[in-house]
């Protein structure tokens, strides 16, 4: 047990140490300060700007920024949709795969362009190397960069600066952050044993029976893998994702993947601190999220470590729950990976979340509901500040002034946007489709488990889509040619789009409005938002708002299941 906890603690320490240098570097990149990579990348960026017809990068207004996000994303989605639908005619298709069904392709494209990577297919038997490496791999970078650009625009607006230029930030996010780190990471992964090849699968006779042939899928995995983690994408090259030995062969690659998932969402909070010139506030917010994160790890780890009471009764002693886990990672690495991947909206998995103990499952669901336990690439940080604004509004009145955040008044427009963003999108995109699916469960759901666990599976699928996470509880018949696949593909697509673009529009408008407000000076009568007290209050608001919305489904899903298994809580 101790070894497991030490593994977790050391990993978290590495992440903590990485935050200031990476966060500082990102602040320099996005504030246009000099960095060491300038000489290398400025000519490349100039070329991109010229080819892209972006000319000089002028600051955009809120709606210009939103249009740029939406149109660029739409254009990329159409491009990749075409590549996928015509993959049979295109090169780099050694296994001769044809077109997938239209709904699978549509769901895949929406899922990848929204940085979600929910997969209703098995990668190795559905998409060619070209579709995966160039089509989906392309979206790995651009969808992550979209999130990061929006986050930077949001931070700029919040701190009273113009929003900036979407295309400029988008390009910088790729050339200065995602691409350099991915290059280094991919080389390490190759060295650690991850394949990177365009060769066709290897066909070998099996050890048990030499007459049986087995095809072992390969592919250009390493470069795909690193950006999958770094960009919080999470879509696996193979169906079993990071549990597959070619995606995640050993402890070193597992560590690298966890660090890659955490690197940018954690560092962005520090980046904010530099932009706001208030590192104290940034560290306090960081500490708050870290606290919730540790709490999640703690609950899930204890649940997994104690194991399943029914199984323990058979084995005659306590054993960790290893169902659905890779033995090479064990309970500790699986729990840390699962909590991190659901918290950061990465969605890669190295263990089956479906097989977690009910309370472990409840923690993962909670991460998806809250979206701020680090949160998605960029959007998570922005959500965090939306929560702060909401906390300022609810509690700030109690100091007897119109609530202010960072010297700007929180008025009707801000309340409309933040409450829509934080409070309303998720219930609409998760609870309503889940209720429809379960009301007609025979026709629509196709769950492997009835009862409480079935409910958890359905809720998880929509929560994963709406939060742009992409991991699955699985156990749902959501892949073609299952009869329920069409419903799943289309209904989750709606949740994916709603969960991605409505908040993004709201965030940009919020930041735009804030940046235009005249700043109000700080006095003794101003509610300080960089105190432990206020950050503590914010944590309370986050947990209460989250609990109020999702306590009933947690009660009817994982909590009821926990009681059913008999272990109690």
């Amino acid at each position: 047990m101790l070894q497991g906890w030490i593994q977790i603690a050391l990993t978290l320490l590495i992440i903590l140490l990485l935050t200031p240098p990476l966060g500082g570097y990102m602040a320099r990149v996005f504030s246009g300060s000099e960095t060491r990579l300038d000489r290398l990348f400025i000519p490349l960026e100039q070329l991109i700007y010229r080819w892209g017809g972006m000319g000089s990068l002028v600051d955009m207004t809120g709606w210009q920024y939103i249009r740029a996000v939406l149109f660029s994303n739409l254009a990329m989605a159409l491009l990749v949709f075409m590549v996928i639908m015509f993959q049979g005619l295109l090169p780099l298709n050694p296994t001769g795969l044809g077109s997938p069904t239209w709904d699978t392709a549509l769901h895949t494209v929406i899922s990848f362009v929204t940085n979600t990577d929910q997969q209703h297919y098995a990668g190795e038997t559905t998409y060619s190397y070209l579709s995966q490496g160039l089509g989906l791999g392309f979206l790995f970078f651009t969808s992550a960069a979209t999130g990061m650009a929006v986050a930077i625009a949001f931070i700029r607006g919040l701190t009273g600066r113009p929003l900036g230029n979407f295309y400029g930030d988008w390009t910088l996010a790729i050339t200065r952050i995602l691409l350099p780190i991915s290059l280094v990471g991919a080389v390490i992964l190759v060295a650690a044993g991850v394949p990177e090849t365009l060769a066709a699968p290897v066909v070998v006779p099996t050890l048990e029976d030499a007459t049986v042939q087995q095809a072992i899928a390969l592919g250009p995995v390493a470069h795909f893998e690193i950006i999958k983690m770094l960009g919080e994408n999470g879509g696996g090259f193979f169906a079993s994702n990071s549990a597959h030995p070619f995606e995640n062969p050993n402890g070193l690659t597992n560590l690298l993947q966890i660090v890659a998932m955490m690197a940018i969402p954690t560092a962005l909070i520090y980046t904010y601190g530099i932009f706001a010139n208030n590192r104290r506030q940034a560290w306090l917010i960081y500490a708050m999220v870290f606290g919730i994160y540790l709490g999640c790890i703690g609950v899930a780890a204890i649940a997994e470590y104690q194991g399943n009471p029914a199984v323990n009764a058979l084995l005659g002693g306590p054993h960790p729950n290893l169902e659905g886990k890779e033995v090479r990672f064990g309970w500790a690495q699986s729990v840390l990976y699962a909590v991190t991947t659901t918290g950061t909206m990465c969605g890669a998995v190295n263990a089956m979340h479906d097989s977690f103990m009910p309370l472990g499952g409840a923690v993962l669901l909670t991460n998806l509901f809250l979206q701020i336990v680090w949160g998605g690439q960029g959007t998570g940080t922005a959500y965090l500040f939306a929560y702060l604004i909401l906390a300022v509004f609810v509690t700030g009145l109690m100091v007897g002034r119109t609530p202010e955040f960072l010297g700007r008044k929180i008025e009707q427009r801000e309340v409309v946007l933040t409450s829509l963003l934080i409070l309303l999108v998720h219930p609409i995109a998760i609870l309503i489709p889940a209720a429809v699916t379960l009301a007609f469960s025979e026709q629509l759901a196709g769950t492997s488990n009835p009862g409480f666990h079935g409910l958890s599976q359905v809720i998880y699928e929509y929560a994963s889509a709406a939060a742009n996470n992409g991991s699955g509880f699985e156990g749902l018949a959501d892949s073609q040619p299952a009869p329920t696949a069409l419903w799943w593909n289309l209904s989750t697509s709606v949740s994916l789009l709603a969960g991605r673009y409505i908040p993004m529009i709201a965030l940009v408008l919020l930041a735009d409005g804030m940046s235009r407000k005249p700043p109000v000076p700080m006095t003794a009568g101003t509610l300080r938002t960089d105190t432990g007290l206020f950050i503590g209050v914010t944590a309370g608001v986050i947990l209460i708002m989250g609990a109020l919305t999702f306590f009933p489904v947690l009660a009817l899903g994982p909590i009821a299941e926990a009681f059913q298994i008999g272990g109690g809580l």
């Binding site: 700030g396 100091v399 008025e411 219930p427 429809v436 007290l533 309370g540 009933p552 009821a560 059913q564």
Partner: protein, 688 residues
């Protein structure tokens, strides 16, 4: 004790407003507000009202929305009980609003009493007069008001000289002299009575547009427009309501899927328990009560927005005289010069002041008498010399030809020189000494001989320093404006504890300092009464005009103080803050309550799902749990009505201290209170 504070204290004991019958009327009004057309204005409570109708239907037929497994009769009893409680939830919210409005109406009635329809004598262009009701008057028209008549509308005196009884509005019984041209005395308010002589008045406000009319509309609540902050809060409450609507509506298929079906009535109960009914029901009462508190203070606000802005004020710009210091200066010390004794100086000073009826003059006489001076001549034989702005001296001419003068040091120097007198540096030394102490020096002479200097001292209002300390703790800066020189101003500023001061200030300086503060993003409040204050009053975010001031000042301000007490600006800051705090505290309380309600209802209604262990309160049964939570939810509204009307007690603390305190009371208290209360209700109600 000065007159104003005494008057304010008296008012506390004898409320102007008649409260009898208030509650009977509110009880009736609460029923009238059930009209869906009125109810729909409050989305949160309207949803409860709709829920009441639905539960009433399932009381009549429990199987109306699909067959319910349970036997119909116990179902009917439960649904019926839920219906009754929901009805009272809505009714209590209506009652809260009705009480607040009732108090406002009573306040308005007492204001309106001054507004009773009078007949006005309109002056036609040809000079003849026409009699018509005051409501038919229009802005710009002229009316003639004779002794014994009411002034029919707000206006400005064009001609005539008359004394006017303004006690109906200000409570001040002494009549006020009104005449044209002068800054202060030329404006009249509708509803006041001319006691002597007659006035020609130009009407400055259409009927229904005067200050009092605007205030009546505000306190009555009917015309009340929601303030920006109230609108923002309503948005949040509406979104929360929508969230819970989705949560509860989707629970029906989810619960059915896990084979723990529930009923419509129970889900409606859960919904009502969760949506923020406490703050939703009390929100408008809080707003109306806030306006009412301003009105009780005898201040007329032209909008709720202005009252809210008071809470946000960063800087107060205050006139020294009347606000920080008492209006008059008193003699503090005599400083003899040129070898004269203190007794001699007192003697001359007394003689110089025998005709001076100003407070300053009287105080000089009193000080001289205390020092043993007596009049050594017959009053009737001497001739008084009045103070004039040109000579800046006053005094007496004795029968024997001696001339005694007191006045500004420069003026006396001139007088002495003209009499061939001799000036020594000692006079300048005394002058400087007094100036450094922050006083006003007056020189005294007899013919060509200077006797000494009188030190007149400005008296800072008692308790003002403590109030500025409080303001500073709340983050409000104070800036004093005065016509005094720098040295004097600095001493007073120090003594009163203001943060900054502007000496030798002109009216232009006033607007300048407001602009400067506003350019830093600050909200500025100020008081003023003169016509030349009008631009500054308009520029300030909160402009409080004195009722005794000119019409122009009152037009430019967004509040008018009927008692003409500039110190009230400080109280208004407190009222504004209190309004916001009350709203925030009850919102936090309302949301924090939901945790306990969840723990009461969810485990018991879904106990079939095996989550009964979450029933941490150990409630008796699902029926009892639901009814207990709903009863709590309904009763908390009337319980909090007094708090909503009175406002959360305000303490002058920093924002952080206030947050800590209020989070503890309303946040943590809001989490804990319902656990105890629901358990208690569950224990009391006779349901198995």
């Amino acid at each position: 004790m000065n007159r104003t504070t005494k008057r304010r204290r008296d008012r506390k004991h004898t409320p102007k407003v008649e409260m009898a019958g208030l509650y009977q009327r509110a009880i009736q009004d609460a029923f009238h507000k059930l009209d869906p057309r009125i109810a729909v204005r409050n989305p949160v409570m309207f949803l409860v009202w709709v829920g009441t109708v639905v539960t009433a239907l399932v009381t009549l037929d429990p199987n109306l929305f699909g067959t319910v497994a349970a036997p119909p009769n116990p179902q009917r009893v439960l649904n019926g009980s839920i219906t009754v409680i929901l009805f009272f939830t809505v009714w209590f919210a209506n009652f809260a609003e009705a009480v607040a409005e009732g108090r406002g109406k009573a306040q308005a009635d007492s204001l309106r009493a001054t507004r009773s329809d009078t007949m006005a004598r309109k002056v036609l262009p040809d000079g003849s007069t026409q009699s018509l009701p005051s409501t038919a008057l229009r802005r710009g028209e002229q009316v003639k008001v004779m002794a014994g008549e009411m002034v029919p509308a707000d206006g400005e005196v064009v001609a005539g000289l008359a004394s006017v009884d303004e006690s109906a509005i200000t409570g001040e019984s002494a009549p006020v002299l009104k005449q044209p041209g002068t800054d202060i005395a030329s404006s009249v308010t509708g509803g006041t009575r001319v006691i002597s002589d007659e006035l020609l008045i130009r009407v400055t406000a259409d009927p229904g547009q005067g200050f009092i009319d605007r205030m009546i509309a505000l306190v009555e609540g009917a015309e009340r427009r929601k303030t920006p902050n109230e609108i923002a809060l309503t948005v949040l409450l509406t979104v929360l309501t929508q969230v819970f609507l989705i949560v509860v509506a989707t629970m029906l298929p989810l619960a059915t899927y896990v084979k723990t079906p529930t009923t419509i009535a129970i889900l409606i109960s859960l919904l009502v328990a969760l949506i923020p009914t406490t703050i939703g029901g009390l929100l408008s009462a809080i707003g109306i009560a806030g306006m009412d508190r301003v009105a009780q203070f005898n201040v007329i606000a032209t909008s709720g927005r202005a009252v809210e802005a008071c809470g946000d004020v960063n800087t107060l710009v205050l006139d020294k005289t009347g606000t920080i210091t008492l209006g008059n200066r008193l003699a503090e010390e005599f400083i003899p010069v040129d070898g004269h004794g203190l007794g001699d100086l007192a003697q001359v000073a007394l003689a110089s002041s025998i005709f001076d009826e100003t407070p300053e003059g009287r105080s000089i006489g009193q000080l001289a008498e205390r020092l043993g001076a007596t009049l050594e001549f017959n009053r009737a034989t001497v001739e008084g010399v009045e103070f004039s702005a040109r000579t800046r001296m006053s005094g007496i001419d004795l029968a024997d030809g001696r001339q005694i003068r007191k006045g500004a040091v420069d003026a006396i120097k001139g007088f002495v020189r003209s009499r061939g007198g001799h000036l020594t540096p000692e006079l300048d030394t005394a002058y400087e000494k007094v100036s450094k102490l922050g006083g006003t020096p007056l020189a005294v002479c007899q013919d060509g001989e200077v006797y000494g200097v009188i030190y007149l001292k400005d008296r800072v209002k008692p308790g003002i320093k403590e109030r500025f300390d409080q303001l500073r703790r709340m983050g409000v800066r104070t800036i004093m404006l005065t016509g005094d020189n720098r040295i004097t101003a600095a001493v007073i500023a120090q003594e009163a504890g203001v943060d900054d001061f502007i000496a030798e200030a002109t009216p232009e300086d006033k607007i300048e300092v407001i602009r400067r503060e506003q350019s830093q993003g600050k909200l500025v409040a100020m008081t003023g009464d003169g016509t030349n204050d009008a631009p500054a009053l308009a520029q300030a975010n909160v402009g409080l005009a004195m009722n005794s001031g000119t019409q122009a000042a009152k037009e430019a301000a967004n509040m008018v103080d009927l008692d003409s007490d500039p110190t009230k600006l400080i109280d208004l800051v407190t009222i504004g803050k209190q309004l916001l705090i009350t709203r925030g505290a009850l919102t936090t309380f309302s949301i924090a309550n939901d945790i306990a309600k969840y723990f009461a209802i969810i485990p018991t209604i879904f106990s079939a799902a095996g989550i009964g262990a979450l029933n941490v309160m150990g409630l008796k049964s699902p029926q009892s749990a639901i009814l207990s939570a709903l009863i709590y939810n309904a009763l908390i509204i009337p319980t909090l009505i007094p708090l909503a009307l009175k406002g959360v007690q305000f303490r002058p603390l920093t924002a952080d201290q206030l947050l800590r305190r209020n989070i503890l009371i309303y946040g943590l208290g809001g989490v804990m209170a319902p656990f105890l209360a629901i358990k208690l209700i569950d224990w009391v109600i006779p349901i198995p």
